[in-house]
Symmetry: C2
Subunit: 248 residues, 2 copies
């Protein structure tokens, strides 16, 4: 197994960082890595906002409810961005571009573009000995985050990423078995995934009971059912449409 695959397989989310800040050089390397990810038709439909302003970090921490949004080596916010492209055009051309810009297809493009670049940044950071945590929690109050970062139309904050020197080393969290996630030639029925899922329920329960902090006793199945019975972040839909994305 080579170093890169070792790095990938050693991923765990880091939620406690030392006070060390990333250097400008580190930030440049990470962004360069992010940018080298594939992009649909080379549209590069994303913007990464580095947040250093203490007031902004405090506000974003409040939105997320997670202290590591404030306390980290650097905070990145990954935005889907079709604004840049829309502004390349004349007014007249913009009118003709509107239908495409507002389509669900382009919403998918911008979300995937941003995610691919983020995962490159994550792997690059971890290869440098840094730790990372994805922050979907910024969508807890997406309207407020959008205002804080002054996002224009056609730009949306998708998630954040806290990066820094790890101040803890959590256990590796087990994943669903291979058989549940990888199918051949067609989607395999839920019934045929069920043995793998039951095995995972036991494995995850065991992991939760024995991990060093925040122990719990529920299974994956129980967690998922509970989680999806709650409606959260239902305003993301109207927000995205207000930003003129995912409208048709």
């Amino acid at each position: 197994m080579n170093h890169t695959i070792e790095t990938i397989l050693n991923h765990r989310s880091i939620r406690k960082f030392t006070d060390d800040k990333l250097t400008e050089e580190q930030i440049h390397t990470l962004i360069q890595a992010a940018q080298q990810a594939s992009s649909s038709s080379n549209v590069m439909a994303y913007t990464i906002i580095g947040v250093t302003d203490p007031f902004l970090k405090e506000e974003l921490r409040k939105v997320s409810g997670q202290p590591y949004v404030e306390n980290n080596g650097h905070l990145f916010v990954f935005c889907g961005d079709l604004h840049r492209i829309s502004q390349l055009a004349t007014r007249e051309e913009q009118v003709q571009m509107q239908e495409t810009l507002e389509s669900t297809e382009q919403f998918i493009v911008t979300t995937i573009d941003a995610a691919l670049s983020a995962q490159n940044l994550a792997i690059a950071a971890e290869s440098m000995g840094l730790g990372i945590c994805f922050l979907g929690s910024l969508r807890n109050d997406i309207y407020h985050v959008s205002e804080l970062l002054r996002l224009p139309k056609y730009v949306i904050p998708l998630f954040g990423m806290a990066v820094g020197t790890p101040a803890h080393r959590p256990e590796l969290k087990p994943r669903l078995p291979f058989e549940a996630v990888y199918h051949e030639n067609k989607y395999q029925s839920f019934e045929s995934q069920q043995t793998a899922i039951s095995a995972y329920d036991i494995e995850l329960q065991n992991y939760y009971q024995h991990r060093t902090s925040n122990t719990r006793t529920d299974t994956w199945t129980e967690q998922m059912i509970r989680k999806y019975q709650n409606t959260v972040r239902m305003d993301v839909s109207s927000y995205v449409k207000d930003q003129k994305l995912n409208k048709r």
Copy 2:
């Protein structure tokens, strides 16, 4: 610079592969790498379908119009998947989960989860000396792809990835300058990105004129305006909603 970052920065899309097929062991390693990516609240809301059936590969090649969809070492299709989670629940619980399952928020979750896992697979493959190409082109006829792969409700094909031994070595494609893509503390106006974009227009034009195959003369700005004036894949929106995702 370490090996992992070198691998990331050396990424180029490979569109011509030798006849060598990936081994079972390689596929296992790649899927394991994919699975170790972060996942929102551990939902692991994706399924990866490996396509080896010659009829299916031919059909998918026709959808994409790209020969390397058929001729490669292995073909993966990355699907957003909330079906697995929905099926964990009783009928009664499913009714209570419906609003969340159908939300734009969960559509974002499943798209990002799939993309993060895909980028891990891409980097792992490249670290092993393999080449990859993302295939958004499978969305050219998303209804047909969905039928071919027998996707149930709450599952959508987001993109494919062709993997294999490279049979060519394209030049590295330049990316937008750092200043255009990385902003500090707030979104920087298009005007302030314009110098960087103009520089990129010249750089990309130069790249296109001098690359060894498929030379062209247009700038990035011209390409983007032309591209976004065409409406393509407008049926993705209704397809996704038919699959009961992104509905509210």
